[in-house]
């Protein structure tokens, strides 16, 4: 159900992109909507990454080996509930991020000029704030389930200074609609993102 609707949204988006790209654009109209890309089951558990983060390139839409962690090949990386960005103390890139609350993936089209991109820093300070109900997720102490906060997006400046919006959709393997703490495998990132390759702040 969830999958098929995501697929439908994807197809619709792709259609819009195709349609938009056929029409002639000029400088005064906003850039064409970026394509929404879905990524499933990025395993961030330290057991599988030998204690390293699971690195990902938003530009190329593919995982990056941890051996490339000191390069600008990656943009975002995951280890359990912590998300780092290639910049600040986390990497050599130009990356930064902030958590945008109260919007939807489709509605968020422009990074406003007064937005501040935060950098990862020492002492457990991250551009994507950690903690339940502080950043991208909340933890339910009764069910022990971690749920991405609906309406929260990660607005990311990539290692090479481009912009992306990222929405985590599930923290569990296979993205079950109703994760059960006894059976669901946590630490698996499912997310979708829009990457603006032209360097503008428009999606």
């Amino acid at each position: 159900m969830k999958r098929s609707s995501q697929l439908a949204a994807f197809v619709a988006m792709a259609g819009v992109v195709l349609f938009a790209s056929c029409s002639k654009s000029n400088d005064s109209t906003p850039a064409a909507p970026v394509e929404a890309k879905a990524v499933a089951n990025i395993n961030s558990n330290s057991a599988s990454t030998n204690g390293h983060f699971a690195f990902y390139s938003l530009e190329r839409n593919e995982p990056v080996a941890y051996t490339d962690s000191a390069t600008t090949k990656w943009d975002i990386a995951f280890r359990s509930t912590v998300i780092i960005i290639n910049g600040g103390t986390s990497g050599p890139g130009n990356g930064g991020a902030f958590v945008q609350r109260g919007t939807t993936f489709a509605d968020y089209k422009t990074i406003s000029a007064d937005s501040t991109f935060k950098l990862d820093a020492t002492g457990g300070v991250y551009a994507v704030t950690t903690g339940s109900d502080k950043g991208w997720y909340s933890y339910n102490p009764n069910t022990h389930i971690i749920s991405p906060i609906a309406g929260n997006l990660l607005i990311v400046r990539t290692a090479t200074g481009k912009y992306a919006k990222v929405e985590v959709t599930s923290y569990y393997q296979g993205a079950p609609a109703v994760p059960d703490a006894n059976t669901a495998v946590s630490g698996y990132y499912n997310f979708r993102f829009g990457y603006q390759s032209n360097g503008s702040k428009q999606f």
Partner: protein
């Protein structure tokens, strides 16, 4: 049989085959004598032709702490009689409460509790003869600790009752009234049913001259059950418990009486080692030993100075002790872990209450008391069992005034001084207007409060179970606890500076109840009550720091403001002399007011069942978790002159919110809800002359099971009971 309907010599009938019965502390000959004395003098409980009328005449004590007719208390009170408990085949307190409209039985690792007027189990005070039961686990007092096979009646007062009872009586109180010694009494019963569940009772008592004595014993055991047949673990493991009660009284003079009431409860649950295999094929062997013990001793001195002045001095002591030892063994012995939990609470209370008949139409009640409360537990220190104390002093007063025949006013207030948190004043005002004999309108407004408990102040707990590792620090422990964690290098990130965390305040509420009792005809009565409770400073957990293991440190804060409101209705219809039909219903709306504000501001988003993110509107918001909007019951009771009785009771609760799935921490469309719950219980039996009685019944006739949301419901239960009872109330 309603208390107002006294017969010169009545024998209540309870229970059974004597051969294996051993009465504790009672001479065999005496018992035999009682047995013979009872023979041939038996009369069968009268069926009443107008239940509604008699009910309002029934005397209750919980609503005003004075003896009052049920029809004259101006607040919502429900009485469950011994007869109802017997005919329903209820064994534990939760069994009978589950069948009352507006009471929602909750069940989780902390025990079986009751939600009243939409408020959590933490906010209902549970009393035996007016004295509180202690030993709550995460705020829940486990109702299954209380055997109700030997009691006289249960009184349920809904709405804030802190003006008389102090802390915890925010949603209301449930008072279990025990049997009083009669001239001669003896009873025994045996019940056996599905899941190897047995319940055995025996009691005997007498009154001689100025002295009276009553001994009661109950034994309960069950094999437990397993809802998931492929699992090696039981859903409910076997356990057994027993309750012994001794009541003694002495009348020094007709004006001065002493009563001693004691209760001893002991429950043991030993889980034999059983093994499970994890995903990698490693074996984990689990075993556990757990015990719970309860001691209650209540000394009451009553003295009547004159026709108009009466005083009651009560000295009450109760001790609750729970101990759990768990052992996890792995194929790799270095991973073996143990879990040990110790919790003991000592509660001592001195109270005096004086009732003064100021004039022919007004009564003044005044009382004061002092409570010594202490707990010993390893939950407050990682390695040691430590003691925490609290002292509470209080005074209360109440004035009942009936200026005209049709008007009744009750005003009261209680002031609680507490060593550990700020003092609190709880007022209450109740008014009743009668319109002839048929209609009574009640309205009341009252304050309720709940003091922070020992857990919220002193807990210092790190969960070491596999996959966890979080820490919870009580309000008084948060600075020291955080300092220690920081020194140990366990803190990655501080989210709230411990120095800025304020002292916890009591949770407070204001409750309004407006209702009516209407006798439509001799055979039909209608009871309606509207309620609204506004609660401030609700205590909840919040994160204060992140640990290096990425888990969090939690503490307690006064954060939430919530309301619960709704209407409860009950209709009783005496179809014919031997057949009564009743129906009950509760409609409930609840909300967190701060969440509502956020929704109005358009700040809350949700994820629907299709994974689409949407802006949550008021109509998407579903109120507080774990609440049923609709609860209903229908009951049919049959009872004839020949002693036959039969009944069928159905209860319904519509789906309640279980958990948040979209990370916004509130309940909205797209979150997880339970299934609708429906259960029907039936029972049939015969009361024979000479005090014997036989009964068979089936609870959960349609075998409702729901392993996810109702793991406390084992499935269909079939049982049979035989009993014998003999009571002589007058010489």
């Amino acid at each position: 049989m309603p208390a107002g309907n006294r017969m010169p010599c009545s024998y209540q009938l309870i229970h059974s085959y004597m051969p294996k019965l051993k009465l504790i502390g009672m001479h065999k000959k005496l018992f035999l004598f009682l047995l013979l004395a009872g023979a041939g003098k038996i009369s069968i409980a009268q069926t009443t032709d107008s239940v509604a009328h008699n009910e309002l005449d029934e005397v209750v004590v919980s609503a005003t702490k004075t003896e009052q007719k049920l029809g004259n208390v101006a607040v919502p009170v429900t009485v469950i009689s011994k007869k109802t408990i017997q005919q329903n085949g209820s064994l534990r307190l939760n069994d009978i409460l589950a069948e009352q409209a507006g009471l929602f039985i909750t069940s989780d690792y902390s025990g079986t509790g009751v939600q009243m007027q939409g408020l959590n189990p933490d906010y209902t005070l549970i009393l035996i003869d007016g004295e509180p039961i202690v030993g709550r686990n995460s705020g829940v007092l486990d109702l299954s600790r209380i055997s109700i096979t030997n009691i006289k009646r249960i009184e349920i007062v809904k709405g804030p009752s802190s003006s008389l009872y102090g802390s915890e009586a925010m949603a209301g109180i449930i008072n279990i009234i025990t049997e009083k010694p009669a001239v001669k009494t003896a009873a025994a019963s045996v019940r056996y049913g599905s899941f190897g569940t047995a319940d055995i009772n025996a009691s005997a008592g007498f009154t001689k001259n100025k002295f009276n004595l009553l001994l009661q014993g109950n034994y309960y055991r069950t094999d437990g059950y397993k809802l998931n047949s492929s699992s090696t673990a039981n859903t409910q493991d076997p356990f057994h418990n027993y309750t012994l009660q001794l009541k003694a009284g002495y009348a020094f003079t007709p004006k001065t009486k002493w009563t001693l009431s004691t209760r001893y409860f002991n429950e043991t649950q030993n889980i034999k080692p059983y093994s499970t295999k994890d995903a990698s094929g490693n074996t984990e062997t689990y075993s556990s030993n757990a015990s719970i013990r309860d001691i209650n001793v209540n000394n009451t001195f009553e003295h009547r100075f004159s026709e108009k002045v009466k005083t009651n001095l009560r000295i009450y002591y109760t001790n609750y002790k729970a101990e759990t030892n768990q052992l996890y063994l792995y194929s790799d012995p270095s991973k073996n872990t143990t879990f040990y939990d110790y919790f003991e609470q000592n509660f001592t209370r001195f109270e005096d209450q004086t009732d003064i008949a100021v004039s022919h139409n007004s009564t003044l009640t005044a009382g004061a008391g002092w409570i010594l409360d202490n707990v010993k537990s390893n939950r407050y220190d990682e390695k040691n069992i430590v003691t925490r104390n609290n002292n509470i002093g209080y005074a209360f007063t109440q004035y009942e005034w009936k200026p005209f025949k049709s008007w009744l006013f009750i005003a009261g207030a209680r002031y609680d001084y507490n060593q550990r948190y700020e003092s609190h004043l709880s007022p209450k005002l109740a008014i009743q207007k009668s319109f002839g004999d048929k209609l009574k309108i009640n309205a009341s407004i009252g304050g309720g409060f709940k003091a922070p408990d020992f857990r919220q102040l002193y807990l210092s707990f790190t969960n070491t179970a596999p996959g966890t590792g979080y820490t919870v620090l009580g309000n008084s422990e948060v600075q020291a606890g955080m300092k220690q964690l920081q020194q140990q290098g366990q803190i990655q990130n501080i989210l709230i500076d411990p120095a800025t965390i304020k002292e916890l305040k009591p949770e407070t509420s204001t409750g309004i109840n407006i209702g009516a009792n209407y006798l439509v005809s001799k055979a039909v009565s209608v009871n309606v009550n509207f309620f609204r409770n506004d609660i401030n400073n609700l205590i909840n957990t919040g994160t204060i720091a992140q640990k290096t293991n990425n888990m969090f440190v939690y503490s307690y804060f006064n954060i939430n403001r919530v309301y619960t409101q709704g209407v409860e209705a009950e209709v009783k219809y005496q179809l014919c002399k031997s057949l009564q039909l009743s129906a009950g219903y509760q409609l409930l709306y609840t909300a967190d007011k701060d969440d509502l504000d956020k929704i109005e501001a358009g700040k809350v988003f949700g994820r629907d069942a299709n994974g689409q993110v949407y802006k949550v509107t008021k109509s998407d918001y579903k109120g507080l978790f774990n609440r049923s909007r609709h609860m209903a019951n229908v009951k049919l009771y049959y009872e004839d002159q020949k002693g036959w009785f039969a009944n069928a009771r159905s209860i319904f609760r519509n789906a309640w919110g279980v958990s948040d799935l979209d990370g916004n921490l509130l309940l909205n469309r797209g979150d997880q809800f339970s299934n609708n719950f429906f259960q029907t219980n039936i029972s049939v039996g015969k009361q024979f002359v000479k005090g014997f009685r036989a009964q068979v019944g089936c609870d959960n006739l349609f075998n409702y099971k729901d392993i996810r949301f109702m793991p406390n419901i084992p499935g269909r239960i079939v049982y049979a009971t035989i009993s014998y009872s003999f009571t002589q109330n007058q010489k």
